[in-house]
Amino acid sequence: MPLETPLEIPEIMLLVASCLRDEELAQCLRVSRTWRDLFRPLRWREVRVGHKFREPPFNSSGDYPRCFGPRPVDIYHHRDLILDLTLFGDTAGLDKYNYPNLHKLAIDYTCGTGDSEQKVDLALTEMFPSLIDLRFEKVPVGVTSWITLFAHHHIRILTLCNILVNTDDAPTFWKACAKLENLEMDRVIIQGGRIPADMMFDRMRTLYVWEAKEMDETSLIDLALRCPKLEELILATVVISPDTPPKPINLPIPKECWPHLENLQLECNIQDADLGSILEGVGNLICLDLHSCTMGEQAFRALGLHFSTLVELNLQNCFSATSSMFRDIMCSCPELEVLKANNVFANDVTEGGPWVCQLLRKLKICFLFGSSETYLQLLIFERLSTLVQLECLTLYYLDFEYYDERRILEFRLDFGLSHLESLKQLTTLDFNYPYVPQIGMLEVAWMKTNWQNLTRISGELNDNPNENERVISALSKRGIYREWSE
């Protein structure tokens, strides 16, 4: 008697399919017509096509096919099954088919196209009624695309990469963005200066701007202020050098400008007072990344409002953040799981109450000791030993010349390393130093006994090349492998 099987019920089959990897699904397709018909839609869910490349994409070895993906005729016959379509280059009118169930469309001209001057104009409304997610990369987009985007009912997510919006098209472009919930712009040039005065983006929950060109800090903040429902905000301008003085934001930053914001990343050159107003204006932050910002007294006071909720904090290149700020953070943020700090003076962080950041899983920090402060090494090890959830410890060093007299944390037993025996969760150790710690065979033996979960170590471990080799090979015999630093 045949085994009575739940696999004849389509809903159950799809659940089973969701537990299988692609190559396992491929086997199922070959079982029978019934199985093929059940699993075939999964095969057509996501389609990537590239035709007519000038150069091979992705690698320069030349063996990549000039065309890939199904033939246009096959796409045409299966177009109702396609949910996610990526077209690389000029794909012979594939963007003119009607895909009734398409959710996500990406058009990518990075690899070159037959006629790069020709602008893409999508009649989105008619062609892709169900589209919610649209991505353009290096595509010359014409104004009619922005008009159809504006008229489209469902598109909520727009990603633009390497796109130029010229002065004439800019007002239409901003209007088209008004209904979006999610906008990501990477190396996008929007000409024509400021956004029209009455423009609001009431539905926007996520705004990412990377390497904005022709938009200064004030215009970026202006854009973000028009999105009152933001939950995630990333504003990153072109790389900041520490010598450029921060520019003032010529805008009033109102109180409670983003009450729902939980995730904020700023890589902008803005003043302490402006950063302070922004941090005062947001709800309870969970993730904050102020990579390369200026953190002064005002901004730090405002940061204090978020101490009880912060889970991830990155102040890695905040050159102006002081040791005592990091001490306050570690003594006041009970939810913190990830902290990226910079140079911290041992005598500042060993003062004060206990570190409350007991949930910390990842810590990136550089402890610095004055020449007469060897006794502080032990105190640092004692403090670190309380962070029992720690999985990833990176010790690094920002190379400032005026720290030359300073010493680093000596990761050795004779300086108190054995206190760290409580860090049972530790999996990764990263020494990102310009000069090398003196880790020897004694430390290796100790690590292998006390840190059973340790599997990855990176950086140089000993400045004697022979000793370094010995230490590394001893570690790898116990399954602790050396990797490159972050």
Partner: protein, 159 residues
């Protein structure tokens, strides 16, 4: 509060209401028939052996947080945590597990359904198409052209 359930072969089980409510179907029935709970709830598709096993599962998971949204179950994104108890629970033969999947499906006990589907996926993933056909007694009804087409499509799909 207690609820009584009756299997297809007439056996009656009494369980706590919150345990029975792991079944979406029973939960909905209890809302509708709030006034009339003197009679056992009949489960026409579930035999006593399977029902006992389903109840055992629900008893153990009675305090789990409920996940209403099917999206959350997408195993590709995030596999459901399987604890030691679940692993013990799934040490049964295929026939029993398939009966349990059917029972979980008809009673809509979603975490058990997903657990069962994972078990079924584990069986299928180690098999060739021929082995799958043998196990489920499925005929190979492909024409050579259809078979060629499947192989041909493979060139460009991830499957």
């Amino acid at each position: 509060m207690k609820v009584t359930l009756e299997s297809s072969d007439g056996q009656v089980f009494t369980v706590d209401k919150e345990v029975a409510e792991l079944s979406v179907i029973i939960k909905e029935m209890l809302v509708i028939e709030q006034a009339n709970q003197d009679h056992p709830i009949p489960l026409l598709n579930v035999g006593a052996v399977e029902l006992a096993k389903v109840i055992e599962y629900c008893e153990h998971h009675r305090n789990d947080p409920t996940i209403d949204d099917d999206e959350d179950y997408d195993s590709r994104k995030k596999p459901i945590e399987m604890d030691d108890w679940d692993k013990q629970f799934t040490i049964v033969n295929k026939e029993m597990m398939f009966e349990l999947i059917l029972a979980a499906n008809s009673m809509q006990v979603k975490p058990l359904l997903h657990l069962g589907c994972r078990y079924a996926a584990d069986i299928v993933k180690r098999m060739s198409p021929t082995e799958i056909r043998d196990l489920f007694q499925i005929d190979d009804d492909f024409t050579p052209e259809e078979q060629d087409k499947i192989e041909w499509e493979k060139q460009w799909t991830k499957l």
